[in-house]
Amino acid sequence: MNLPFRLQSFRHGVHPDDHKQGTEHLVVEHMPFVGRYVLPLGQGGKPAKPTVTRGQRVRRGERIATADGFVSTSLHAPVDGTIVDLGRHRHPNGDLVDCIEIEADAFSLQTIVPHATVDPDTLDVDNFVAHVQQGGIVGLGGAAFPAHVKYKTPAEKPVRHFVLNGCECEPFLTCDHRTMVERPAEVLRGARIIAKKLGATDIHIGVEHNKPDAIAALRAQVLPGEAIHVTPLEVKYPQGAEKMLIKALFGQEVPAGKLPLDVGCVVNNVGTMVAIADWFDRGIPLIERVVTVSGPGVRRPANVRVPLGTPVRDLLAHCAGTVPETREFVMGGPMMGSSLASIDVPVLKGTSGVLAFTAAETARGNEFGCLKCGRCLDACANFLNPSVLARLSRHGEFDALEANFVMDCMECGACSFTCPSNIPIVQLIRVAKSAIRDQKRKEKKP
């Protein structure tokens, strides 16, 4: 924590306790294979189309569903086994969605059958984008947006900076941290592939300075004279929001409603780069990812490399289960993740963490009146007025909400975190935003 005020960052934001000490030094372990795997077809973009039938035997790494349209990605079998069901299963968000269920072959050695490796330099942009799409690769930071979509850039918007997001500003999560420490060569290999294809002039890697080992590991991989900059950033939430990261690195604001590309940037998560490197160099598609299992309810917190589709129940069991006082299960980080109604749901491509909380963390205190203390304004990285938005949301004043830029809110939750009166500010904003979206949809088709 030496001289944090000197480090680059965005303005506003909050400083939650990072709770990373439980897992940040734990080497990523492998999740043993379990009996059944459930893979929702929609894991980033439009749901994929199954290419297998019930009863069909599949090999680990084999494609089982193909992208349906451009903003969609393929899906691959995480294990050797048999397709036992093409039907609806519970998604972590609570919905019943179309899935492929695989029963693992208990007698298989589970060796990956790699796809053909490809030298990215031999591909033109369109083929490159298509190949990334075939690898089933999505952004592994949490939003699971199909990775290849970002690489198809229009000619009138040249890319100057390729930005790697190693901030991991969500408390508890350490999966990106461990990835940077343990696989820095793959991180940079993926970054070099993408930056070259995009025609970016340089690569910037932003890492919060509470990960000095990750910064050192990445820097050790940079060749002399190479235009790759590893920048330590202030530990502040939401540093990992891509617009905040761009502001921190370049001092530039991405205009509201625009994309990073509009200021000449493409932003990717560090874990995504490892997936890119594995796909091109080793022919391994995205069939597993690193998940941080942590929180006071978990008996043996760990960073685990988990085959996609593994039930959360089995993952928690691998981490010695949860304490009886556990009151809430969260998928993702504690600031933006979602509560699980059931742990019989699969790990997805976008699952960065599985957290278990006890009553001590999840108890919500009494709500008091808004004192207009202004703490939420000082927290909001988007420079909105959350106190006003929450009040307007309670009264259903949609026009006033829009005039106060409610749709600019990225729902990072810094306002709710900081409110001394315990007002569920971001929750009220979410309600307002979805109501406004519904209204717009109705107006479109009368």
């Binding site: 289960g321 949860t322 556990t326 979602s338 009146g369 420079f383 830029f405 709710s416 409110c419 009166s421």
Partner: protein, 335 residues
Amino acid sequence: MTGRSVRTQLQAAPFLHTTLTTPRLMVEVLLCALVAALAATWYFGLVALLVVLAATLGAVAAEWLLPVRLPRGSTLRDGSAVLTGVLVALTLPPAIPLWMAALGGFVAIALGKQLFGGLGQNLFNPALVGRAFLQAAFPTAITTWVPPRGFFDVPGTTFAWPFLRGQLDGLSTATPLSQMKFDHIATPLWDLFVGDVPGSLGETSALVLLLLGLWLGLRRAFDWRIPVAVLLAVVVVGGGLHLVLPARNPSPLFLLCSGGLLFGTVFMATDPVSSPTTPRGAWAFGAGIGALVVVIRNYGGLPEGVMYAILLMNAASPLIERVTQPRPFGRRRPA
């Protein structure tokens, strides 16, 4: 793994929350106000505590008798009524009849807060509404200062029956501000600074108030921009006037240390409810208070102007807030 008896819950993110809560904030400010009350007891004797007690009882009674119907129940638990009562008392002179102090506390909560809909809804600082009411209703009692005669000595007016004023058993003296206003006599700065001067309970010792303000500011109990803006404006406006006409206008140091300026700055102007929430608004609000205080003191008919300066800026606060909304990230300043 998880037994059938275990009940889990579903909430919406974020799952983490800061440990700072509104009741804790109230308690922290309340403790600081009580330190100021103890300082008053040191200078004025036990009667100071009696006044604090009376005003607090009045405030709590109003909160209890006039509950705002909130689904979450009475706001008594957040401690804000107690704080308002103590703050009203600290604006009063030590010899005020206790029934007046209690009435002031009652009016502060009844008219200043509950009438608007309870905690967070009020336009004006409730404690100053109570004080303004007393000043309008009992102008003599609220401007009569009796020098302290002993720690346990209680002025004859203290236990006056309701609606009576009681017999003042001593000579009243002038405060530093009225001496300056009407006789152009400046009290030595050191006396002002340590607080050995006649005045209201909370406003005597600049030293104590500065320390309390510093503590609350470092604890982030209030928006530090407001007190900084008030003091800067007093120095700039008051200092400017002093440079132009030194015979007529007191020095900025005198302005800073005398009367209710520091007390009002630390405990009244920083009330979050009646001040703007926006950062730029906080600067404008504080600067307005500082400028108004200097203008009222130097050119108005009253020796003291802190109360009216803050109440006026309270009234302007919604407007200030409207024109100082932050510029959203990635947008031009809203027109």
